[in-house]
C-alpha cells in the first residue's frame, strides 16, 4: 500500500539486512516484526540477531492475482522459508520459474526492490533466490 517517506525512513532501513528477534528469556527466535514481546513466553527482552541468509523453502504458493505493488510480476512464488537458524520467515522467491521450486528447495537471501512509496521512495527488502551452492544430496 501507500507508504510515506517518514514511514519509509522508519521501516525501510531494517529491511536492508536479514535478521530475526531472539528472546533472551526463552531463547525463541521469532520473525523480525516481534520486537514488542516474545510470542512464545511473553517476555519483552528481545534482541536482533543477524541471519546467515540461507534456508529451506518449507511452504509456498504461486500468486496469479497480485496486489497493486506487484502488478507485472505475476505469477510469482511467495512462501515460508525456514532459515537455518530455525525461524520461519515469509518472502518471495525470485529468479526461478514456479514449476522449478518445491518444498525443500534450498534458498538464500538477496536484496531486491520491493515496492515504491507514493512519495518517490524505493522500498528495498529481502527476497530469496535458489541457492545454487547448496549441496546436492547424493542420489
Amino acid at each position: 500500500m501507500t507508504v510515506s517517506a517518514i514511514e519509509f525512513s522508519r521501516l525501510g532501513p531494517p529491511k536492508l539486512r536479514l535478521y530475526a528477534m531472539r528472546c533472551t528469556a526463552c531463547n525463541q527466535l521469532s520473525p523480525w516484526w516481534e520486537h514488542h514481546h516474545c510470542y512464545k513466553c511473553g517476555s519483552d527482552e528481545l534482541v536482533e540477531e543477524e541471519l546467515s541468509g540461507r534456508g529451506e523453502l518449507s511452504n509456498y504458493t504461486v500468486v496469479y492475482y497480485p496486489p497493486r505493488d506487484f502488478l507485472g510480476q505475476e505469477p510469482y512464488v511467495v512462501g515460508h522459508i525456514t532459515m537455518d537458524e530455525g525461524v520461519l520467515l515469509p518472502a518471495p522467491v525470485v529468479g526461478v520459474a514456479p514449476e522449478d521450486v518445491e518444498v525443500g528447495t534450498r534458498v538464500r537471501a538477496t536484496l531486491r526492490r520491493m515496492k515504491l512509496g507514493h512519495e518517490g521512495d524505493i522500498y528495498y527488502s529481502q527476497k530469496f533466490v535458489v541457492d545454487d551452492e547448496a549441496a546436492v544430496p547424493a542420489a
Partner: protein, 389 residues
C-alpha cells in the same frame, strides 16, 4: 444465556453499483426491523460491523453514519471491526449489551461495499486486515496466505487438490439455490480443478467473490421474545470469541484448529450441548480450505478428515450436520463486515424453517455459526436454538 432474535434481514449479496454503503445498511436495517415489528425508536443501541469503508469508500465512522440514516438517533452507535470476524463481533457485542441488562433491544448490522474500486485496489485494501506492513509486504495477499494453509493441510494429511475440491462442489450446489447469493452456478470437481489458478493450490472456484451486502438482526431480552409466542422462538444461546496470531508465518494447523476449538468448547458448555446436537452450521469459508478446518475445529470431524463430509454427503442437507446450506462465503461472497452477521441471519432462517425449500434442512433446532478473521487472528462462535412454546 438466552438472547432473543426478534428480527432478521439481509440484502442480496452481489455487485450493486447503484447502491451506496448507506443504502445497503438502511435496506437491511428496515428488513430486520419490519421482521421484528419494531420502530427505529425502539432500538436502544446499534452495533455496526464494517471493515474497509476508509479504503473502499473513502469514508470512516460507519457506525455514526448508519445510525443517522437508519433513524436510530439518539441511541448510541459504534463501528465494530475485527477483520473478517467483524460481523460476528457486532453480534457478540449485541449479545453482551442485552446480557448486561443495560439494554432491552439492540440492532446488530453488518455492511460492506467492496466494488466501487477496481479489484486490484480492493485486494490491497483487504490485505490491510492482515499485516500489510511486514508480512504481506512480501507480496502475499489473503488468497496466497490461505493457500499456504491449504498446501500444509494437503501435505500433513496426504490429500490431493481433488479431495479439497468437493467442498466447492457442495457450496455451489446450495449457492445455486440461494436467491441471495452472489454466485449461483453449480460445478463439478472437474470444473473446480480446471478453474483458473488464483494462488496455487487455490483455484477460482475455491475463492470467494468481492461482494456488496448488508445484513441485520434485532436482538432483545429473552422475556421480550418469550412474551410474543407468535414469533419464531429462536435465541442465541452461546457467544464466545478468541484471538490467534496476526501472522501467517506463526499460524500452524494446530493454531487454526485451536482458533475454533477453544471458543467452541466454551460455547458448547455455555449452551449445554455438544457437537453431535448441532443440525446446521454456517462455517466461514471465504476460501474453500477453511471449511474442512472449521469442521474439524468445531468437533464435527477428526483433524485431517474435515474435507470428507463434502465428498460423502455427511455435511450436505440430510447429513449428520449440514454445513453452509447458504452456499457459504464461496457463493455468497465475503462482504467483510457483513459476513458474520449474514451467517447468523442464515442460521436463524434455518431454525425458523423459512429458508427456500431446497436449501432448508427440516426440523432444525440447533445451529452454530463459526466466523474467523485475519490470517488466524479472530475466532467467533455463536450457538442458536429454537425453543418450543
Amino acid at each position: 444465556m438466552r438472547v432473543g432474535v426478534l428480527g432478521v434481514g439481509k440484502t442480496p449479496h452481489k455487485i450493486q453499483h447503484n447502491k451506496s454503503l448507506r443504502d445497503l445498511a438502511v435496506e437491511s436495517s428496515r428488513l430486520a426491523m419490519t421482521d421484528a415489528g419494531v420502530e427505529p425508536s425502539d432500538i436502544q443501541a446499534l452495533y455496526v460491523g464494517n471493515v474497509g469503508s476508509v479504503g473502499f469508500n473513502y469514508e470512516n465512522s460507519t457506525g455514526l453514519m448508519v445510525a443517522h440514516h437508519t433513524g436510530v438517533v439518539p441511541a448510541g452507535a459504534v463501528r465494530v471491526e475485527a477483520a473478517c470476524g467483524t460481523g460476528a463481533w457486532a453480534l457478540h457485542l449485541g449479545c453482551v449489551a442485552i446480557l448486561s441488562g443495560l439494554y432491552d433491544t439492540v440492532m446488530v448490522l453488518g455492511v460492506e461495499k467492496m466494488n466501487d474500486l477496481a479489484t486490484v485496489e480492493g485486494t490491497s485494501i483487504i490485505a490491510q486486515a492482515a499485516d500489510s506492513k511486514e508480512e504481506y509486504f512480501s507480496g502475499l495477499t489473503f488468497p496466497s496466505g490461505v493457500a499456504l494453509s491449504a498446501r500444509k493441510y494437503m501435505q500433513t494429511y496426504g490429500l490431493t487438490e481433488e479431495d479439497l475440491a468437493h467442498t466447492s462442489v457442495k457450496n455451489h450446489h446450495y449457492g445455486a439455490r440461494n436467491p441471495y447469493a452472489h454466485l449461483r452456478f453449480e460445478c463439478t470437481v472437474e470444473e473446480v480443478m480446471r478453474s483458473a489458478k488464483v494462488a496455487d493450490p487455490l483455484k477460482l472456484y475455491e475463492v470467494c467473490p468481492m461482494t456488496d451486502a448488508s445484513s441485520a438482526l434485532i436482538l432483545c431480552r429473552e422475556e421480550i421474545l418469550r412474551d410474543q409466542p407468535d414469533k419464531p422462538q429462536v435465541y442465541v444461546t452461546a457467544t464466545q470469541m478468541a484471538t490467534g496470531t496476526w501472522y501467517a508465518a506463526t499460524d500452524t494447523l494446530e493454531d487454526a484448529h485451536r482458533l475454533f476449538a477453544e471458543p467452541a468448547g466454551r460455547a458448547y458448555a455455555m449452551a449445554g450441548i455438544g457437537p453431535q446436537d448441532v443440525d446446521v452450521a454456517e462455517i466461514y469459508n471465504s476460501f474453500a480450505i477453511q471449511e474442512p478446518l472449521g469442521i474439524e475445529g468445531l468437533g464435527f470431524a477428526e483433524p485431517g478428515k474435515g474435507w470428507q463430509g463434502a465428498a460423502d454427503g455427511s455435511t450436505w442437507i440430510d447429513g449428520k450436520v449440514a454445513v453452509n446450506l447458504s452456499g457459504g462465503l464461496l457463493c455468497k461472497g465475503h462482504p467483510l463486515g457483513a459476513t458474520g452477521a449474514t451467517q447468523a441471519v442464515d442460521i436463524v432462517e434455518q431454525l425458523r424453517g423459512t429458508a427456500p425449500p431446497d436449501m432448508q434442512r427440516p426440523d432444525s433446532e440447533i445451529g452454530i455459526s463459526a466466523c474467523r478473521g485475519g490470517p488466524g487472528a479472530v475466532g467467533a462462535i455463536h450457538i442458536y436454538q429454537r425453543l418450543e412454546g
